[in-house]
C-alpha cells in the first residue's frame, strides 16, 4: 500500500514538473507554428527575461561592468527598487522590444531560408543574448522574488494524511505554476480564437503565401509571435528563477523542453502541455523506481528515449500535423 502512495506522490509531482517543462516548450511551439523557426534561443530568452526582471526590480544599472571597465567608475545600483508587478510589466516591454529587434535584424534577412539555417541563426542569437544578459546585468547568481510561495503545501499534506494516512508532498510553487500555466494557455487559446490578430496568426501558421495574399502583414505577426514567446519565456523564467535562482544554468532548461516538443509535436499547443505531463511523470517514475537499480541520474536521457519510442510509432509527435509526403 505504501508503494502505491509513493507512486501516486511521484506521479503528482511528475505532473507538476511536467507543467514547468511545458511552460518552456510553449514558447518553442508558438514560434515554430507561426514562422517555422525552431527557436533554440527560447531557453536563453527565459534567462534573459529573468535577468532583466531581477535587474529592474533591484534597480541595477545595466552594463555596469562595461561602464566601469571603460570609464573606471564603480557604478552598480540606481539605489531604488521597483515593485514586482511594475518590474514584470517593464520586462515584458523589454521582451517586445527584443522581439522587434530580432525581426528587424535577423529574421527579415532570412526569409525563405531552409529550416536548418533558421535554426542555426537562433543558436547564434542564443549565444548573443547569453553574452548580452551577462554584460548587462552581471553573472552573479540572483535571487528572484516576486512573491510566489515555495515549499511544501501544508494543506495538502494535512488533508492527504487524514484521508490516506500518508501526507503527500506538493510544492506550493508548482501549484502556482500549474495555475499560471493554465491561465496562460487559456489566454493564448482565447487570443488565437477570438481576436483579429490571433486569427491572423493562425492564418500565417497555416500558409504564409495565402496569408500574405489576403493582406496580413507577416512582419507584424512575427514581431507579435516573438513578443508572445518572449512573454512566455518571462513566465518560465520567473518560475524556474524562483526555484533555483537566476543564473546561467537557467538557459539549459531548453534541453528539458526538447523531448516535450518531440512528444507533443512541434506545432501543437495542447501537445506541449500533454507532452510535458507525459515526460514529467515518465521520467520521475523511472528515476524513482528503476533509477536506483541502474545507478540513478537517468532523467536526462530517459525523457529523450521515451520521446524517441513514441516517435517511432508516431513520427510527427502525438499532436503534430500529419506529415504528407509527395514526390
Amino acid at each position: 500500500m505504501d508503494q502505491f502512495f509513493f507512486a501516486a506522490e511521484v506521479v503528482a509531482n511528475g505532473l507538476m514538473t511536467g507543467v514547468m517543462y511545458s511552460l518552456v516548450a510553449l514558447g518553442f511551439v508558438l514560434i515554430f507554428k507561426a514562422s517555422g523557426v525552431f527557436n533554440y534561443a527560447q531557453g536563453v530568452l527565459a534567462l534573459f527575461a529573468a535577468l532583466t526582471l531581477v535587474g529592474i526590480q533591484q534597480g541595477q544599472i545595466p552594463f555596469a561592468d562595461l561602464i566601469n571597465a571603460a570609464f573606471g567608475t564603480s557604478l552598480h545600483q540606481f539605489g531604488w527598487t521597483v515593485p514586482a508587478v511594475l518590474a514584470i510589466a517593464l520586462t515584458a516591454g523589454v521582451m517586445v522590444l527584443l522581439a522587434f529587434l530580432i525581426e528587424k535584424l535577423v529574421l527579415q534577412h532570412l526569409v525563405g531560408q531552409e529550416p536548418i539555417i533558421l535554426f542555426m541563426a537562433t543558436i547564434g542569437l542564443a549565444y548573443f543574448l547569453e553574452g548580452l544578459g551577462d554584460v548587462m546585468w552581471g553573472a552573479d547568481i540572483k535571487t528572484l522574488d516576486v512573491g510566489l510561495p515555495q515549499g511544501i503545501s501544508d494543506a495538502i499534506e494535512g488533508a492527504t494524511a487524514e484521508w490516506f494516512g500518508y501526507g503527500f508532498f506538493i510544492d506550493r510553487l508548482d501549484i502556482w505554476a500549474t495555475l499560471i500555466a493554465a491561465i496562460l494557455v487559456a489566454a493564448l487559446v482565447a487570443f488565437a480564437q477570438y481576436t483579429k490578430q490571433g486569427r491572423a496568426m493562425r492564418a500565417v501558421a497555416d500558409d504564409h503565401q495565402a496569408a500574405l495574399s489576403v493582406g496580413i502583414s507577416l512582419r507584424f505577426i512575427w514581431v507579435m509571435v516573438w513578443s508572445i514567446a518572449g512573454f512566455v519565456a518571462l513566465v518560465a523564467g520567473i518560475m524556474w528563477g524562483t526555484k533555483s535562482g537566476v543564473q546561467f544554468s537557467l538557459s539549459l532548461i531548453a534541453l528539458k523542453a526538447l523531448p516535450v516538443l518531440m512528444l507533443g509535436g512541434f506545432t501543437s499547443i495542447p501537445g506541449a502541455i500533454v507532452g510535458g505531463l507525459i515526460i514529467g511523470v515518465g521520467e520521475k517514475l523511472f528515476e524513482f523506481f528503476i533509477g536506483p537499480m541502474v545507478g540513478g541520474a537517468t532523467e536526462n536521457w530517459f525523457a529523450y528515449v521515451l520521446a524517441l519510442v513514441f516517435l517511432v510509432f508516431r513520427p510527427q509527435g502525438l499532436f503534430g500535423e500529419r506529415i504528407i509526403e509527395r514526390v
Partner: protein
C-alpha cells in the same frame, strides 16, 4: 588574369573528373600540403599545437563525419558528442587492454566500434525525419554519456571515473601521453585528417555519395528511382560515426590526454560540430575544414585580442566574446546561408573573371 582555366586542356575523363580541375587550385592544394607536412612540423611549439592546430584538425575530422551525415545524406544529428565519447572510450579500453598493439590500429578500431553504435542509433532515422530526428539523436547523446559515466568497466574502475591516456609510441615517438612532442601530436592528427578527407572526398563523389545526396534531396523520390533508403541512411550513419569516432579517439588520446565524459563529450560538443558544418558549408569537404577553423580559431583570437591587447577583465571579455561569436554566426548566415565554402566558391568565380568582370 592569373586565376583562369583557359589553356588548361583535359584529354581524358579522368582528368576532367579530378577534384581540382583548375591548375592553380591544384598547385595551391599541393602547396598547402607541402606547408602542412613539410614546414609546420618544424616550427610548431606546444602552444600552437594544443591551442590551434591539433583541435583544428580533430574537429575538422568530426565535422567531416557530421557533414557526411547531415550535409550529404540530409540526416540532422545532435549526437556527435555521444559518438565521440564512444570513440574515446573504445580507444581507452583498447589501449589499456592491448598495450602491445599499435595505437593507429586502436584508433581505427575505435572508429569501427563507433560506426556500429552509430548504425544502431541511426535505425530510428528510417521513420523519423527533420527536426524530430535531430532531437531524437539527442537521446543517443544523453544515453551514451550516462552509460560511460555509470558503468565502471568503461573507465577501468578508477575512483573518479576519469580516463587517462597512457603513453603509446609510433615509430619510436610518443604520440599519446604527456611526453608527446608538439610535432608528433600535430603529425598524427594531420595524417588522419588528410587520409580521412581523401576518403570522404572519394566516397562522396562515388555511388554511395550519390545515393546519399538522392536521399537528402528527397527520400521518397530516391526510393522510387531505386535507392534503398535502409542501406543509404545506415551507411551514412556508419561512415559518419566512423569519422566522428576517430575524432573522439584523437581528442581524448592525443589532444586532451584525460577526459571526463560529461564534460568533454557533452551536448555542447554536438552543437559545436553542427555549427562548424553549417558555418563551413553543408555538403562540402573544404567547408568542414573552414568551419572547424572558424569555430576553433575565433574564440582564441578574440580572447587574445580582448584580454591580451586591450587588457579587459577576463569575464567581460568572455561575455563580449560570446556576443561577437553569436553576432558573427547570424551575420554569416545572413550574408551567405550556404557557408564559407560557398563564399570561397564565389570568390573563385570572381577571380576567374578578374579584372574584367563584364
Amino acid at each position: 588574369m592569373i586565376y583562369r582555366e583557359a589553356g588548361d586542356f583535359k584529354t581524358s575523363y579522368r582528368d576532367d573528373g579530378q577534384t581540382f580541375p583548375i591548375r592553380l587550385d591544384r598547385w595551391g592544394y599541393y602547396a598547402v600540403l607541402a606547408v602542412a607536412f613539410g614546414i609546420i612540423p618544424f616550427l610548431i611549439n606546444d602552444y600552437w599545437a594544443s591551442a590551434v592546430f591539433v583541435p583544428l584538425l580533430i574537429y575538422a575530422i568530426a565535422a567531416l563525419g557530421l557533414n557526411i551525415l547531415t550535409g550529404y545524406a540530409g540526416q540532422v544529428s545532435l549526437g556527435t558528442g555521444g559518438f565521440m565519447a564512444v570513440g574515446a572510450y573504445s580507444v581507452y579500453k583498447l589501449m589499456t587492454a592491448f598495450p602491445e598493439i599499435s595505437i593507429v590500429i586502436h584508433i581505427l578500431l575505435a572508429g569501427g566500434i563507433t560506426a556500429l553504435v552509430g548504425v544502431l542509433f541511426g535505425l530510428p532515422s528510417l521513420r523519423i525525419k527533420g527536426f524530430y530526428l535531430a532531437v531524437a539523436t539527442l537521446a543517443a547523446q544523453f544515453f551514451l554519456v550516462w552509460l560511460f559515466n555509470k558503468v565502471p568497466w568503461f573507465y577501468n574502475y578508477s575512483a573518479s571515473g576519469q580516463i587517462n591516456a597512457p603513453e603509446r609510441t609510433l615509430l619510436g615517438h610518443a604520440v599519446t601521453g604527456p611526453a608527446t612532442s608538439a610535432p608528433a601530436k600535430y603529425l598524427i592528427c594531420l595524417v588522419f585528417a588528410f587520409v580521412l578527407a581523401w576518403v570522404a572526398r572519394n566516397l562522396t563523389r562515388g555511388t554511395l555519395g550519390r545515393k546519399w545526396m538522392a536521399i537528402r534531396d528527397m527520400d521518397i523520390a530516391a526510393e522510387i528511382i531505386g535507392v534503398n533508403p535502409l542501406t543509404a541512411k545506415l551507411s551514412a550513419f556508419a561512415v559518419s560515426s566512423f569519422f566522428v569516432g576517430i575524432a573522439g579517439a584523437l581528442l581524448f588520446a592525443v589532444y586532451l590526454g584525460a577526459a571526463e565524459v560529461g564534460e568533454a563529450f557533452g551536448i555542447n560538443k554536438s552543437f559545436l560540430v553542427l555549427f562548424m558544418i553549417i558555418i563551413g558549408g553543408l555538403g562540402s569537404i573544404f567547408g568542414s575544414f573552414a568551419g572547424a577553423a572558424f569555430m576553433v580559431l575565433l574564440p582564441v583570437l578574440l580572447k587574445n585580442v580582448l584580454v591580451g591587447s586591450f587588457g579587459w577583465p577576463t569575464n567581460l571579455a568572455a561575455h563580449i566574446e560570446l556576443m561577437i561569436v553569436g553576432a558573427l554566426i547570424v551575420f554569416f548566415l545572413i550574408v551567405e546561408p550556404h557557408g564559407l565554402a560557398r563564399l570561397w566558391a564565389l570568390t573563385k568565380e570572381k577571380l576567374r573573371l578578374w579584372p574584367f568582370p563584364h
